[in-house]
Amino acid sequence: MNSIRTRLFVILLATTGAVWLFAAAWIYASTQAEVERVLDARLMEAARMVSSLITDHRIDPVAAVDAATANAPPPPFEEAGDSYSRQLSCQIWSLQGSLVSRSESAPATSLASHMNGFEETEIDGERWRVYAVVNPSLGVRVLVGDSLEIRERLIGDVIKGLLLPGIAILPILAALIWLSVGRGLAPLTRIAEGLAGRSASELHPVDDGSVPREVRPVILALNSLFGRVAEARDRERSFTAYAAHELKTPLAGLKTQAQIALRTDDQKVQRDALSHISTSVDRTSRMVRQLIDLATVDASQGVATDEPVDIAALLGEVAAELETQLAVNDAHVAVELGDQAQRPAVLRIDRVLLRLAIRNLLENAIQHSPKGGEVRCRVTVRRNEVVVEILDEGPGIPQAEEKRATERFYRGSKVHGHGSGLGLSIVQMALDRLGGSLAFDRGGRWFTARVSFPLL
């Protein structure tokens, strides 16, 4: 049942119906008890009345017996036409067991065999509740009976009078519930309409002041989602703007330098311009490669393919690949293997992403190394993690800028290198995907970038 309206409708209708039925059952029970009590009292009273009448000799039972009319029913009363009339039947039996007299509605056979009190009997398929009282002075027994069927009809009629209007009202009640639930849910519809009418760029929060308390958590969650989406969109936008700047600026430099080289007659100016062009092409191509790396990491979401990777071997491989860069900066890379002998550092991990992370870290270390400096890579396998450390002798990242260092295009305030500001953000993104973490450490001669992967 996916509609709240239907759901509420069914629940409300079912509970209303159940309450109604329960009430009817209760009324049935209490009516029955009450009717029983009242009619029993009447039976008792009637029996005693008959008994006292014959004791006063207003009726002579012996004469009546002599008249031998006992077996013939007394002349009928005027029919009242009411279904509840002739409810009571009365018999007077001598203690010897002969019928002295009976009322018009009473059967000819004995209503009951007991001497005193109440009893329920069945005579000719008809059920009776009979009260007996013995009149010892006359030697007769008076029986007054009530047809149970009539009693039940009485109770049934009371319940019917209760249930029939209920059944008639039920459809009206159902319609009212349906409409009320609809009205109750109107704020939801209003919010839905407001949201449906929005364009993709309208990410302002829904006003949570006017929404019902029950919907508030949903609206708050929705607003928080809107906030995150808007943030991501802004990030995307500023990324595009930055990327445009970062790519178009070197292009502008290239073009300007080329124009200078073309129109100058001064050989030195021309040589300078050409060397600037060459440098700019190198930097720009690194920048382009990093943008592609970034796209690779971005695209890797959810499609990472894990395989066993020997970390130390990968480090050596990347170091070899960066050798040309080493030649420029004259830095030396040493790969240390920690306690590799006991336990080789092999991780089940996405090789491409790990390689990107390590390559960018190593590149940074080399780039910021002083001329002829040393870069150390260290792999340590601990009980619950594998740690890769890359140490360099460069100035490192100031503590205050650590947080911003992994932002895209953030270049640090006092950096003399020519980075794109993308390297660390690639590292961070790749590590996020790989479940690793990045930390920096400075002490003495070394600046350390530490990557740790938890061992499961």
């Binding site: 600026t249 502008a252 300007t256 124009q259 200078i260 100016v269």
Partner: protein, 220 residues
């Protein structure tokens, strides 16, 4: 004409400096918002080339602050963002012109001359004074239809005088138009160039106002 170029990419900065010098401008360079603000505060420039994305902020901050303090130096914005909204924001902020990267050196020079010209209230590209015609775009000087050969600095001094004829230009303000920060100013250099100009154009062409500076003589 003296320019300030604000750009953080050193290769582009070098290209603009060398290229615009070749076009006859005197060029000073800074690489950050802070340095740019210090420079416009301390010095006077004929025009400013301003990059929008700088490491410590936006070029628009420099521009907005200049305009707030009443500095009306013409500004040419350079930017990689070439969405219309960005251009509008730049122009509304008080920029005189807008150029998207990458650009042509000649176009930068032409636009600079145009915004400087407009700042002086002129619509046409060349300067005229009696029978003298100066074309900054071609760096050519014609006297009575005959070309006069002028050095870069002689041309710059003559241009400064002809841009505001009748106004006295002090020796210092002329020096500023000739030399950037890194260039050593030789003493008497303005006098030397004035002397050379007088020998090429006639002794009475430029008048010395004692203790104040130089101006063009109303009736030579």
């Amino acid at each position: 004409m003296r320019l300030l170029v604000v750009e953080d990419d050193e290769i582009l900065l070098d290209g603009l400096k060398v290229g615009l010098q070749m076009c006859g401008f005197t060029v000073d360079t800074v690489t950050s918002v802070a340095d740019a603000q210090a420079a416009v505060h301390a010095d006077t420039f004929d025009a400013i080339i301003l990059d929008l994305m700088l490491p410590d902020g936006s070029g628009l901050d420099v521009l907005a602050r200049m305009r707030r303090s009443g500095d009306r130096t013409p500004v040419l914005l350079l930017t990689a963002k070439d969405e219309v909204a960005d251009r509008i924001a730049g122009l509304d902020c008080g920029a005189d012109d807008y150029l998207g990267k990458p650009f042509d050196l000649d176009e930068v020079a032409a636009r600079l001359r145009a915004i400087v010209r407009r700042a002086h209230g002129r619509a046409i590209g060349h300067l005229e004074w009696n029978d003298m015609v100066l074309d900054p775009a071609r760096m050519s000087a014609l006297r009575d239809g005959t070309a006069v050969a002028l050095s870069r600095r002689e041309f710059a001094i003559l241009q400064a005088l002809m841009e505001a004829p009748g106004v006295i230009q002090s020796k210092t303000s002329l020096e500023q138009k000739l030399y950037g920060w890194q260039e050593e100013v030789e003493s008497n250099t303005v006098e030397v160039h004035i002397h050379k100009l007088r020998s090429k154009l006639g002794a009475s062409f430029i008048e010395t106002v004692r203790g104040a500076g130089y101006r063009l003589r109303a009736v030579p």
